[in-house]
Symmetry: C2
Subunit: 213 residues, 2 copies
């Protein structure tokens, strides 16, 4: 087989949201392992590193002053403050990736997704993962947490709220079976890369093609 035609394209932003316990983390990891052209977005945060966390890999750890300055300068595509700690997605590395035809994966909630949509609508692909049943979700939360039942109840309420935002997403996967869901995630990524408006090199390609017809 000859070398495949290479059409330069613009990268895309792939958002995966779900309630905690629906299998999103597993699906993200499988996606990153299966495809070399997509990388996880690295957020900035004002919280202190936990043991084992690496600056520039898990997060960029920055001061509250730097964070405020980034917000003011519109250098964050989305941000939020949770329990006094701020988190955000820096704009510059995302823009650079898109221009180089690399894709960026985001593991963010509905609020981050809404902000991202305001800034980067055409580049965005939004996927929401649903659990197949309420029992599946409850089991996973209990297994993970080993917390008091009041903590679990609180998590279920949060899951409920996150799920209520499913109509804001482009694609929905009900995660019955992780291998099947992984194939669906890969299909979405493959298809979205083939969208005309991302394949910026097509205009030149077609011009050269038809010149010789």
């Amino acid at each position: 087989m000859a070398t495949l035609t290479h059409i330069p394209r613009r990268g895309l932003l792939f958002v995966m949201s779900s309630p905690s316990g629906a299998g999103k983390t597993t699906l993200s990891r499988k996606l990153l392992a299966a495809d070399r052209n997509i990388t996880m977005s690295v957020s900035v945060t004002t919280r202190k590193p936990r043991p084992g966390e690496v600056d520039g890999k898990d997060y960029h750890f920055i001061t509250p002053e730097t964070f405020d300055e980034m917000v003011k300068q519109k250098q964050l595509l989305e941000w939020a403050t949770v329990f006094g700690n701020s988190y955000g997605t820096p704009r510059a590395p995302v823009e650079e990736a898109l221009e180089q035809g690399r894709d960026v994966l985001f593991d963010i909630d509905w609020q981050g997704t809404q902000q991202l949509a305001q800034n980067m609508k055409d580049d965005l692909v939004r996927l929401f993962i649903l659990p197949p049943t309420a029992d599946t979700l409850r089991e996973r939360l209990i297994k993970r947490a080993q917390d008091s039942s009041s903590v679990i109840a609180k998590r279920m309420a949060e899951a409920n709220h996150e799920i209520s935002h499913w109509p804001e997403y482009d694609y929905i996967i009900v995660n019955d079976d992780v291998e099947e869901s992984h194939r669906m995630v890969m299909a979405i990524l493959t298809a979205e890369r083939l969208r005309r408006h991302r394949q910026l090199g097509l205009t030149d390609f077609v011009r050269n093609l038809t010149k010789k017809l």
Copy 2:
């Protein structure tokens, strides 16, 4: 593994267009063989059956009077007259398929695609297949035709015109390698079936899910 969750969905209309000789017929056949939920749309035509053609399978063979009546009653989603023969896509079986969650494949040109887009925009997925090089296209046309060089020149001019409409499509595949292109076609179909707006059963599914959280 448990049975996968079944979310009732609306079917979709999958249009594949390309210049003659870009490999569209092969890709259509492979798609129909690989997936049981998509079937080829059967057109009506006023031309006489050729030897071996089966009424209701290859075409519905109808009289010019019936054809004109169908046009008048808006029973055709798209139609055209070529060398005195008329061809068209009946609306009723397409609407029925969509409502039953079945997908329909269309092998039509840019003009048919434009008409279909006017009538069925939200259900439509438009794919354009490009040849990797002008030489590939020329070789395939020569191999197929065994015609005079003036006939081949005319076909190349038609190909040129068809290609000029690539910006009207949602997805573009450069058909370097038929197996690779087939995987891309399947990915597009898989992804489009996962679009939120087609999964009509999600509202009920999520309501039942969150009732139990």
